[in-house]
């Protein structure tokens, strides 16, 4: 089906929430771990809730790491969400995990002990670059976060948006046909749905609107 989005199934908790949000937007989607289905879809979403170490184990045991690299090499637009925005970096401090390295960088723990951890709730984004994913998003829009670790890309060019929580961290990252949000667009009300809608029409090229 035209415009089909595959949601990569590696047992992550928010698969069905992402599916429900896409169905609500009338965007065709399927939850799958089959390489041929994933590679033949128009776009791919890589969700995630949980711990990096366990997630990478499942991904490797199902051979999905190779599939994900192939998706990215083939230029298929790819959206990582939450844990899916972390394990696309090179390495995570969580369980000292070697990750997929789609974007260079590291995943770090919030270290300010005066803050409540996890960073849980609604927070704003400061746009660092124009990107089709952020088209039409109001600067005051807030998004739902729940995480104890945060992405720290090694190269500033890969930071599309930042968020304040004790420190300023990269909450939206991207490189070529890969984009990822630390927040949950599928749980961020109308503004989050707009992000998913933008992704559903993105061709994976061009950082500018």
């Amino acid at each position: 089906m035209k415009g089909m989005i595959s949601i990569i199934d590696y047992g992550a908790g928010n698969l069905r929430s992402v599916e429900r949000a896409l169905l609500h937007l009338e965007i065709p989607c399927r939850i799958t771990d089959k390489p041929l289905e994933i590679l033949s879809s128009d776009r791919v979403i890589f969700p995630g809730v949980g711990a990096a170490g366990q997630a990478m184990e499942v991904i490797q045991s199902r051979g999905l790491d190779e599939v994900i690299h192939e998706v990215v090499d083939n230029g298929i637009p790819f959206l990582g969400i939450c844990l899916g925005a972390q394990i696309i970096l090179g390495k995570s401090d969580e369980n000292d995990t070697t990750c997929l390295n789609l974007i260079p960088g590291k995943v770090k723990l919030f270290s300010d002990t005066t803050l409540k951890i996890p960073h849980m709730g609604w927070n704003t984004i400061v746009k660092k670059q124009d990107h089709p994913l952020l088209h039409g998003i109001d600067p005051k829009a807030q998004f739902y976060f729940v995480h104890s670790y945060y992405p720290d890309p090694g190269i500033d060019d890969h930071i599309l948006g930042t968020t304040e929580y004790g420190i300023t961290f990269a909450s939206i990252i991207g490189k070529d046909n890969v984009v990822a949000t630390q927040f949950h667009p599928e749980k961020s009300g109308g503004c989050g749905l707009s992000i998913l809608k933008n992704f559903s029409t993105w061709d994976g090229t061009g950082q500018k609107c």
Partner: protein, 259 residues
């Protein structure tokens, strides 16, 4: 900056939203799916569905409610009440809830917190606590005791100790309900809220006693709550979520504006 969250609690019995006072005398006030949709449109940050169904045979009704809510609203929500084991947790998460609130079952079996956290992640496990003010004793040094079974059974457990213990076991958040303040509409119990909030590093939701928007300001600014649970002040149409947020915003509390 992280916003303070406003969470609306819907007590659900036999598929209907009900509201009681001091855990007693409930009356039906509407369809939870429709109410959830209205509050979502008003800009609420999160919802909690609390199953107070008397018979365990009827638990399927709540799962159906959760399913229908998840198809229509796209903000986080949790489900509590009657969650006894990991299978119950799986059922509500699978139906579309983000988090599970455990209360009585966790007091009786603290391993349920660690087991749930290990399988679903800490962020999925909310510890619901019903605390009541008592005289400080050697056994209850904080002066707040844990009660279970919906506020009917005192446990002789110190609330402060239990909050810290639950954090160690892997709870991702605490929903702290004051039995004394619940249903009074006279304000949250600020001393209890700041006692617990200062003692743990996970977010604390204040619950019980909200009647006017000033009560939310007080619990956020004076007691340091991360989120505030409300029910009757919106269920009876006294306030909309928008009115409460406008007030809080004017008072300098960071809240999410509906866009």
């Amino acid at each position: 900056m992280l916003s303070k969250r406003i969470i609306i609690c819907l007590d659900v019995r036999d598929g209907k939203t009900t509201k009681g006072i001091k855990f007693k005398g409930n009356v039906d006030i509407g369809d939870p799916v429709e109410m959830a949709r209205q509050y979502y449109e008003q800009g609420v940050d999160e919802l909690v569905f609390y199953d107070i169904t008397a018979s365990s045979d009827d638990r399927g009704i709540l799962i159906d409610v959760v399913n229908r809510v998840a198809q229509n609203i796209f903000i986080p929500f949790s489900v509590g009440g009657g969650v006894r084991d990991v299978n119950d947790m799986y059922r509500v998460l699978d139906a579309g809830a983000e988090k599970i609130s455990v209360n009585t079952a966790a007091v009786l079996n603290p391993g349920l917190i660690s087991e749930g956290a290990k399988i679903f992640g800490n962020q999925c496990i909310v510890l619901g606590m019903d605390a009541k003010h008592v005289e400080k004793t050697e056994k209850i040094p904080s002066g707040y005791e844990i009660w279970i079974h919906g506020g009917r059974t005192p446990m002789g457990i110190d609330a402060l100790w239990w909050a810290q213990e639950a954090e160690k076991l892997g709870a991702g958040e605490i929903c702290l309900n004051s039995i004394d303040a619940d249903g009074t509409n006279e304000g949250y119990e600020l001393a209890l809220t700041s006692l617990i909030s200062d003692a743990v590093s996970i977010p604390v939701i204040a619950s019980g006693g909200a009647g006017v928007p000033e009560h939310l300001r007080d619990v956020f600014i004076e007691a340091g709550a991360d989120a505030a649970l409300i029910a009757s002040m919106v269920h009876y149409g006294h306030y909309t979520v928008g009115q409460i947020k406008s007030y809080l915003s004017r008072e300098g509390v960071p809240v999410r504006e509906l866009i």
